[in-house]
Assembly symmetry: C2
Homo-oligomer: 638 residues x 2
């Protein structure tokens, strides 16, 4: 076992430019709430399922062939190894959380297999070993070799930090040593088409203290925008974030996952170097994303084509791409921005993204996954792209499932931080928090109820500040310490409770969860005349299955009538549903016509309807059918 | 010169299942109106430009290399030859219209080059000859070999019919003879991934009377839906129209140009065979297209991804793909449906598609082309796909420019037909019509004015029926013969004037062109709360350049106020502009926010604005800027 304190996926306890510091790996545990349940499903169902899929899809066979233990042809896409590493990373986090003989055995087998597939010079990539021997580094644009290495490093660090197992790290380090001989000043002046290696190298630097890893990460960042990655076509340069140098970017563009893995890596470099130009650029890019390229769910990457960001306000609902991995990348980026700045808006976006865009990516069972997360569906099966209302057991490009697995397994990492003044709680979930002589018990039914009760079980004697995030969506929050109001006004941002804490102190934070309607900027075409329902951190949607007897596309909401909420233990594993007044519009006068002169037949309400909205994350867990987040407003046509 | 009467692109004078018969090639000529001008630009600017582009892009070099006259590598995509054939087809139609020594010389050179590139066995394809020798027919899915042959046949027939030049037809026939030895019952049971060969083979049958060409076309149709084309993945089968057999299709799906080239070929087979199941299927598919998958402009193929049809009502405005070739394919298909049935709705759609989706594909100069025809643009240059507000001189995939050229050069073909009762005029344009002892002069300023004056210059002595299409958009039409009203009511459809015509008779058709607003079916997400302006056959749009001082995205239209029209000789080569009352909405309260609770700040009108709409086809001919067809209704937010 390691003698160092364990750490989560990001170990920013000594990062010079980090305003907030990360906690140790096991500092936060979930107990009894939504996230505890999702972690349990992730462990009991998703991880075993994932391992079966890696076997079925050929990922493990590819490594066996590369290791000379099997024969056959390489199967799948060029980045198949990365799915193995992400699964291993998830398993490592799980074992760190709660030991598991079964997981341990599976990991032993996989790590041993990975070791056997490594070349004498340290190179390790089953695709180039099996399918294109002799052609390594010949297609940096699409080859994903450094991308796969990045995931290997992250998995290796999860083992090293979580279980003390350094075997995978030894393998990764050999590969990294080789990569240092290939890339860098005076060597190859290029980088991988798909960012990922940057954040991994910074993390390796954090673990080892070896500056060369940080320098290589910086070097690889700087290769972008020099027309060294994409083919010599303007459009592809944008797709690969190779159109302008990293510090000249004014927004997010191109392939969304690539774009945000890159900004995440750049933020990591900032945390270690304090390069102000990087933070300026990243802030500008983050603003660009949230001001025009973000779905209400936190999803990003509007376009199916090139899996990319669109123009500002280009946010179609039914055609949303909003890849699950894009949302995870957004969370990873915002986490580093939060560490860098301490600004609540980053934690706000993490919450929005986590509860909606990310959580929708996996079924309640843990064994079905969305790649694409639209905000509306007509319920029909999709023949031509990855969308539609059916989660799949796995995907030809299976980046998303193990990405969800590793995130859920390490979710405690993203809950709280510390700084010189004390402790910051960014996300609320029932569980325990333990760090540096402080132990807290957190009791809450969040996100279903807004009361959060924090009990101080252990504390240092010196006064310190407990900073509690009041979410941006929240109005009318209140707080009591030991039963007495502790602040006059509790506005969004961080509520700072500075006192000499004593064991047994109780903080009660009250975050009113009134269901309410939101609207989108008028320049968003897809949401014109529509509203969406939110309650607390959750975005809601209508599903056809809850509205029998009518067609979902004909329903409108009366935003003048009050919304009501009710806990429904039997629906979708237990959710708060939101009910609204609405009506069904009579579209029969259209009679198969698609266009007609205005005034030909005024729209008429056929009948009043009670609308039942469920959390967006839970959609498509019952019979397949239509779904919509944005609901037409009845009064616009009254 | 041929001794047969010349024919247009479709020679359906003897087709057994044709309700309406096509006229001879030169039967209709345009004089002095919009189409005469566009034909003149097509001839003077587009064709020479196209020839230069074929040289620059490598199409001609590819043939030279295939012919052993040059060395080098194949350039461009696999279907480069087809662009040469489409250009040749356009040139042939132009020479048939008005002889040209210059075009003749260019065509001589090109036909001689094509001849030299032909193999001893008749095979002719520069890609497989140069880039993949020995691999012909190994990738029917993507290889486009029969697709290119189809275009060669069509060009060959245009020469044979238009100028009497049979050289290209001899080349094509040799290739077709070889293809007969490769495909068919007992031989290869498959077909080309991209339909086109079917309509060409039927046309070859019409020209030669050789039944085997029709049989091969039928055979190739029947290969679809047998999982013989696309890779064994469900989504690709849909893209290639290989998911269900041709007669089991319930709608249009997959790649739009492929889909509609296929339905066009199927319609051709129907016209020759009278196979009722085919017509039933085609009618169902056509209905599916116009009831849910058709843009107001007549454009089809909503999705950038796979250039495909989307689900019903999936018609985004800014993200519309609406490829120019798709619109041309739609016109070709509807023309054959019109010949088959005589139903005015097919001619209605031809008109809508021609004046809007197709005409927008080419600049007023004739030298710039859109591949993608969105119904809205924020005016920004597009880095990631083919959209955006800038037409290009040519495209990497340059199917559209020569497709527009050949259509414009042969446009007279689509104006009128005849049957046992007489003559049908489907489209209105200033010019002359001459067929079977009948000569008419047509005077009109259509589409700018709705008065059409038809003078009988020559007629047979026996009575016959002049059928005039009253467009579906038209209300209040009237007609006079020699000054006297000739019908009580003139409803959309065909107005039939049955009489013993005499030289000097004058028919005056009055089609009121009132500008008016139309709305789309409520299930279309992108148009909610919006209207579009139409006037006669023209769809209008707003362009930023006509609305200085405000942002186009902030403009709304007051549909309660009257629309006015005015001829503007100086704008865009002379257009009727439509003016409307509107207002600019103040979106400043959003302050960079993308979402907010409703009621946070009510939308306020900043100032009244007079809106100036111009024909959609003419957009993007001035400074690049925002454009929109669908305009938010002011009263919805009042």
């Amino acid at each position: 076992m390691t003698s160092k304190p364990t750490a989560g996926p990001v170990e920013a306890t000594r990062s010079p430019a980090a305003t907030l510091k990360t906690l140790a790996g096991g500092a936060v545990t979930f107990e009894g709430g939504l996230w505890a349940r999702r972690q349990a499903v992730n462990r009991a169902a998703a991880l075993p399922h994932g391992l079966r899929m890696l076997e079925t899809a050929g990922n493990l066979d590819n490594l066996r062939i590369a290791a000379g233990r099997a024969t056959g042809r390489f199967r799948g896409r060029v980045f198949m190894d990365s799915d193995v590493y992400k699964w291993l990373e998830a398993a490592a986090f799980e074992m760190a959380r709660v030991p598991s003989a079964e997981l341990s055995k599976s990991c032993d087998t996989l790590i041993e297999l990975v070791a056997a597939a490594q070349g004498d010079d340290g190179y390790l990539n089953s695709y180039y070993t099996v399918a294109e021997p002799g052609r390594r580094w010949t297609d940096l644009t699409h080859g994903h070799e450094l991308y796969c290495l990045g995931h290997m490093i992250q998995a290796a660090l999860a083992f090293r930090r979580g279980t003390g197992d350094g075997r995978l790290l030894a393998i990764a380090t050999r590969f990294v040593d080789y990569v240092h001989s290939v890339f860098g000043p005076g060597r190859r002046l290029t980088t991988d088409g798909h960012a990922e290696i940057e954040m991994a190298l910074v993390e390796l630097y954090r673990e080892t203290g070896e500056r060369r890893h940080l320098d290589l990460a910086s070097f690889l960042l700087d290769q972008r925008g020099c027309n060294r990655i994409g083919p010599n076509r303007h459009d592809s340069l944008a797709a690969f974030q190779d159109r302008v140098p990293v510090r000249e970017a004014t927004g997010v563009e191109g392939h969304a996952v690539r774009a945000l893995y890159l900004t995440t890596g750049a933020a990591d470099v900032y945390l270690e170097t304090g390069d102000a130009a990087l933070l300026q650029t990243l802030t500008r890019q983050w603003d660009d994303m949230v001001e025009g390229k973000l779905y209400l769910t936190g999803g990003v990457g509007a376009r199916h084509l090139a899996e990319s960001f669109g123009h500002p306000y280009e946010l179609p609902s039914d055609l949303a791409y909003s890849e699950t991995c894009g949302a995870i990348a957004s969370l990873m980026w915002s986490w580093r921005m939060l560490l860098a700045t301490g600004h609540a808006r980053y934690a706000d976006l993490i919450e929005r993204t986590l509860y909606n865009a990310i959580l929708a990516g996996v079924s309640l069972s843990g064994e079905r996954y969305f790649y694409v997360n639209p905000l509306a569906s007509n319920g029909e099966v999709e023949h031509l792209h990855r969308g539609g209302p059916l989660r799949k057991p796995w995907h030809l490009v299976a980046c998303c499932p193990p990405n969800v697995m590793r995130l859920l397994a390490s979710l405690g990492h993203y809950v709280a931080t510390r700084d010189g003044s004390g402790l910051q709680v960014h996300q609320y979930a029932a569980g325990r928090l333990q760090t540096s002589g402080i132990r807290l018990t957190i009791e809450t039914a969040y996100p279903w109820e807004g009361r959060v009760r924090i009990t101080v079980d252990e504390t240092s004697a010196t006064p310190w500040t407990l900073a509690l995030r009041v979410p941006g969506w929240c109005t009318g929050a209140g707080v009591r310490v030991n039963g007495s109001p502790a602040a006059d006004t509790v506005a969004p941002g961080y509520l700072r409770l500075d006192r000499a804490w004593a064991r047994g102190d109780v903080v009660e934070l009250d975050l009113p969860l009134e269901a309410h309607c939101v609207e989108a900027h008028p320049w968003v075409e897809s949401t014109r005349g529509c509203v969406a329902v939110e309650r607390g951190p959750l975005v809601y949607c209508l599903e056809q299955v809850d509205h029998p007897g009518g067609r979902l596309a004909d329903l409108e909401i009366d935003t003048g009538a009050p919304l009501t909420s009710a806990w429904d233990a039997d629906r979708l594993g237990g959710v708060a549903v939101v009910r609204a007044q609405g009506r069904e519009v009579d579209t029969s006068s259209w009679q198969h016509r698609l266009y007609r002169p205005i005034g030909a037949a005024p729209a008429a309400a056929r009948r009043p309807v009670q609308l039942t909205a469920v959390p967006y994350y839970a959609w498509a867990n019952r019979e397949p059918g239509a779904m919509r987040v944005w609901i037409p407003r009845a009064e616009d046509r009254a």
